[in-house]
């Protein structure tokens, strides 16, 4: 029997606000242990949380980025569980009235992965286990998170990977998080079950906790899918449980222990008041939102006839697409701009991080100027390419490298003059051409190229010469 994979994700994303969610300590990653702490975030008795306004704004932006509904009234709840990394023995989170309801992420195959909700909460500190001793660092404690809870709509590992990539892309795009999985600013809990293909009922699911790379998500899901299928095939039953993934062995194992009985006893946090979100504020944030990558992608493909693959590259990071948008202003072919970016500029940006920052020496206006020279026929493609390299090396504009005479060489009138001279000065070749020796025209073109010192467009010259001869 063939089995279908069914998966839903709970994705935690650290928001890049300046300060923690309930106190003024910095959210900077790293730092010496316990140096980004105060009485509030280490949960000293008597301290009280005060909600960071920016966290709410960032969460609303996240909601708008995934087409979610922004709640009019939201509340904070306490999720009670006792663990050394949780200073208060409860995490302030949202259960009964989250900030964002619904929404979706659309995949390239056209499927929409629906979101159940997005809520805000605080991160826990960090534990280091050494020789059985436990070291606790609360720097990360109280860093704001959003948790994006999807419906179980994912049907393959490829969809899962794309879902994570899309989330990462759009959350970075709207500027609420760097979504660095390796630094833990984006982490996924993966719910997974299997069912015989063609059936509707969900199988029993397991949850793989705290996945911190897309590669590992794929490995863990693959392993877990196989494990569940094997179990069912051999007459066993999947047990609903929480699993951890061992990236050395590539296997999952149960996290359950007698010590953690899980009943979070959620209740409204009496230390925090209700959050009302006026519609005007939502509208204002909406107005401030950048055009989303999916919309840009569509526009590039439909309006500019850019191939999908290239459009995907241009919209992977917001800065690239913004650069592109500026550089295409008034040009004949946006595709030419795209080619320069994806061809020559990307070659200089080796890592994904470099591409994301997109720190190139040439400004969009400078690229725009170069492409317009090309558009007007003043320079040829080869010259444009080599000029761009020089511009990228130096940060100087195109005109620093292209002389008047360089551009003169390919001026329409100049070309015509050169062609006329070639035809007039080489009657033999003209005769040969006329008598059917098509190749004879190459000599005439060669003459034009020589006299233009290589600046003329050979194809344009050939066409012009043919025209002159035919009109003789």
């Amino acid at each position: 029997m063939k089995y279908e994979l069914v998966s839903g994700f709970e994705t935690h994303i650290e928001l890049s606000t300046k300060t923690k969610i309930f106190c003024g300590c910095t959210t900077q990653f790293g730092g010496e242990p316990n140096t980004h702490c105060c009485p509030v975030c280490i949960g000293l008795p008597g301290t009280l949380p005060v909600l960071n306004k920016e966290v709410v704004r960032f969460a609303i932006k996240a909601g708008l980025a995934v087409h979610g509904k922004i709640a009019e009234v939201a509340k904070m709840d306490r999720k009670n569980y006792c663990y050394p990394d949780l200073a208060k023995a409860y995490q302030i989170s949202q259960l009964y009235a989250p900030l964002i309801i619904g929404g979706y992420i659309e995949l390239s195959n056209g499927r929409k992965i629906r979101l159940h909700h997005i809520h805000i909460e605080e991160d826990a500190g960090k534990l280091i286990h050494r020789h059985g001793d436990t070291y606790v660092d609360y720097n990360r404690g109280g860093v704001p998170l959003i948790e994006i809870v999807s419906e179980p709509d994912i049907r393959s590992i490829d969809e899962a990977k794309e879902y994570v990539e899309r989330l990462q892309q759009v959350m970075r795009w709207v500027g609420i998080s760097d979504c660095k999985m390796q630094e833990g600013s984006m982490r996924c809990d993966v719910n997974i079950s299997v069912r015989p293909e063609g059936t509707e009922a969900f199988g029993t699911r397991t949850e793989i906790k705290n996945m911190n790379s897309i590669t590992n998500i794929a490995r863990a899901m693959e392993y877990e899918y196989e494990r569940q299928v094997d179990l069912i095939e051999s007459g066993g039953k999947v047990v609903q449980e929480t699993l951890r993934f061992d990236d050395v062995t590539g296997t999952t194992s149960s996290m359950r222990s007698k010590e953690d009985a899980h009943d979070y006893r959620y209740f409204r946090d009496p230390d925090l008041v209700t959050i009302n979100i006026p519609r005007e504020e939502v509208e204002q944030l909406k107005a401030e939102m950048p055009e989303l990558p999916a919309d840009k992608f569509e526009r590039y493909v439909d309006d500019y006839e850019i191939p999908e693959k290239d459009a995907a590259l241009l919209t992977k990071y917001r800065r690239i697409s913004e650069y592109f948008d500026e550089a295409i202003d008034g040009v004949k072919s946006p595709k030419t701009v795209s080619n320069f970016i994806i061809g020559q500029m990307f070659r200089r940006l080796e890592t994904e991080a470099d591409k994301e920052v997109f720190d190139v020496a040439v400004s969009p206006a400078q690229l725009n100027e170069l492409v317009k020279l090309l558009d007007s026929g003043k320079i040829r493609n080869n010259l444009a390419k080599s000029t761009l390299e020089k511009m990228l090396d130096s940060g100087k504009g195109a005109l620093e490298f292209i002389s008047e005479s360089d551009m003169g060489g390919i001026d329409e009138n100049a070309l015509l003059e050169l062609c006329k001279a070639a035809v007039e000065g080489n009657p033999k070749a003209v005769e040969d051409y006329k008598s059917g020796k098509a190749k004879a025209i190459k000599a005439l073109v060669g003459n034009v190229m020589k006299n233009s010192r290589g600046k003329a467009d050979a194809m344009a010259a050939e066409a012009k010469i043919a025209e002159l001869i035919n009109n003789m």
């Binding site: 009485p39 005060v50 006893r265």
Partner: protein, 485 residues
């Protein structure tokens, strides 16, 4: 009629220096604290340092604020930077906060002379002060009787004249009940009038800090000083009703004083009689007494215990032996360490309430208990709002009885909980309530009555209380203990 003003006058008239005054309080603490057990920590050096600063100010002719140089005490659940703060629990032994509670920050900035931290029921859970890890505080009227709880130490210290005033906290009556037992004044402000920042939480939606004083005037002075908005407490608005002091002596002619019959149910006769006598005093001053029913009150006690214990079970989860306080000596692994620390560090009543709170929040019980109790909270608030359509203040007994004898507090938790029956409704509804003395029982133990007001209307209840004190000063008697000015 107020002690704070007396002291202030003596200081500015140079009848006594602040250092002399502070020393006399410290000496009296030395003499009487073995018997009263009001203080669990005495901060003599700090007190004398502040006194010295006040004397310097006096010497240089600078003006003195009303609370400046006045010796006072803080309940041991208010955080004091560098000074032991234990909630009278073994689990917080050795804990010295690294910040000040907002109330202490305010008073410290006004050169209040803190003599020490006062005794209380462990984590403010109790009605006799006897759940304190340090043993109970005793009643200055008779040290064979308890001071009440949970702010028993503060009431005992003020009643025993070893503090001019104290700050207590009131979750279900913990200011008013011991004030009533010890024959002093205790004001539980409107929820949100005084900052809770730095107050070690018992039940966050019910806890409120307020003064315990010798007189209504003093309660008004201290309340006006500490009721300020606080950016660190999202629920704190400060004194929205404005200052109470200027309105203390307003005429109460025509004031409507309500009596809800349910408040008198099950109240001992001597107490009931004293409260009804007080009503007559009010009538003689031209106030109008209005009787009505508040049947919803009979659910107040279970509602209170469900909400308080639920919040407590969450608030007290953090005592795990990792960041502060007591940590078990022997254990195997982190989970075992946490369980042992908590099992050894908390007393029986605290554990009982944590378990109860965990139960009412746990899966399958949340709706039937916690959710239902919070819904009823809304109903109770509405009932009070309706009642205040008919009257300006509500008069009620503070406690259905007088102070019990030492060790007499029953081992039956429910019987103990019943002593809170008159005090908890105010906390559930977030209203202000002040307890003032209104008589004595046959054995000479004080009886207290409370005046309950509308939200943020401390001014009216203090006005009514002040008028009563003027009309019946004999109810406000002193004890043999402590500093005699």
């Amino acid at each position: 009629m107020g002690l704070i003003n007396d002291i202030h006058q003596k200081l500015i008239n140079k009848e006594i220096s602040c250092t002399e005054l502070t020393k006399s309080y410290l000496e009296e603490i030395e003499k009487s604290n073995d018997a009263l057990n009001a203080y669990v920590c005495v901060t003599g050096d700090e007190a004398l340092k502040t006194a010295e600063a006040v004397d310097k100010k006096l010497a240089s002719g600078e003006e003195l604020g009303l609370l400046e140089g006045v010796p006072m005490a803080l309940k041991d659940n208010m955080s004091t930077n560098g000074i032991s703060t234990t909630c009278c629990s073994k689990i917080l032994t050795g804990y010295k906060p690294i910040f000040d509670a907002t109330v202490w920050e305010i008073l410290k900035s006004q050169n209040a002379v803190m003599l020490g931290k006062t005794n209380m029921d462990e984590f403010a859970m109790g009605s006799s002060c006897e759940t304190s890890y340090f043993g109970g505080a005793m009643n200055p009227f008779d040290i064979n009787h308890v001071a009440g709880g949970s702010s028993g130490g503060a009431a005992s210290a003020v009643g025993g004249n070893i503090a001019a005033y104290g700050l207590g906290s009131d979750t279900g009556g913990s200011i008013r009940q011991p004030a009533s037992f010890c024959g002093v004044v205790g004001l539980k402000p409107t929820y949100g009038a005084v900052s809770r920042y730095g107050l070690i939480a018992y039940a966050s939606s019910l806890d409120q800090i307020g003064p315990i004083t010798k007189s209504v005037e003093d309660a008004s002075i201290v309340f006006d000083a500490i009721a300020k908005p606080d950016k660190r407490d999202s629920t704190c608005l400060g004194a929205k009703g404005g200052e109470t002091y200027p309105k203390l002596n307003n005429d109460i002619k025509g004031m409507k004083i309500g009596i809800a019959r349910e408040y008198l149910d099950g109240v001992r006769d001597d107490v009931k009689e004293a409260v009804l006598d007080a009503a007559k005093v009010y009538e003689s001053m031209g106030a109008q007494i209005v009787y009505f029913d508040l049947p919803i009150l009979k659910f107040a006690l279970p509602v209170y215990y469900i909400i308080a214990c639920a919040e407590a079970s969450s608030n007290l989860g953090r005592y795990d032996g990792i960041r502060y306080g007591f940590k078990a000596e022997r254990y195997t692994g982190t989970h075992d360490m946490i369980c042992r620390t908590r099992s050894e560090g908390f007393g029986e009543e605290v554990k009982r309430r944590i378990l109860l709170g965990t139960y009412v929040l746990s899966a399958g019980y949340y709706d039937a208990y916690y959710k239902k109790a919070t819904d009823l909270r809304g109903t109770i608030i509405k009932a009070f709002n309706d009642a205040f359509e008919r009257c300006d203040v509500i008069l009620a007994p503070t406690v259905p009885m007088t102070a019990f004898e030492k060790g007499h507090a029953t081992s039956d938790p429910i019987e103990t909980y019943l002593t809170d029956i008159c005090t908890v409704p105010v906390n559930i509804a977030g209203l202000p309530g002040v307890s003032i003395p209104c008589g004595f029982n046959a054995k000479g133990m004080p009886i207290g009555m409370q005046l309950i007001g509308k939200s943020f209307d401390e001014a009216t209840i203090l006005n009514a209380a002040y008028k009563y004190q003027q009309a019946a000063p004999e109810k406000f008697t002193d004890t043999k203990w402590g500093v005699k000015l």
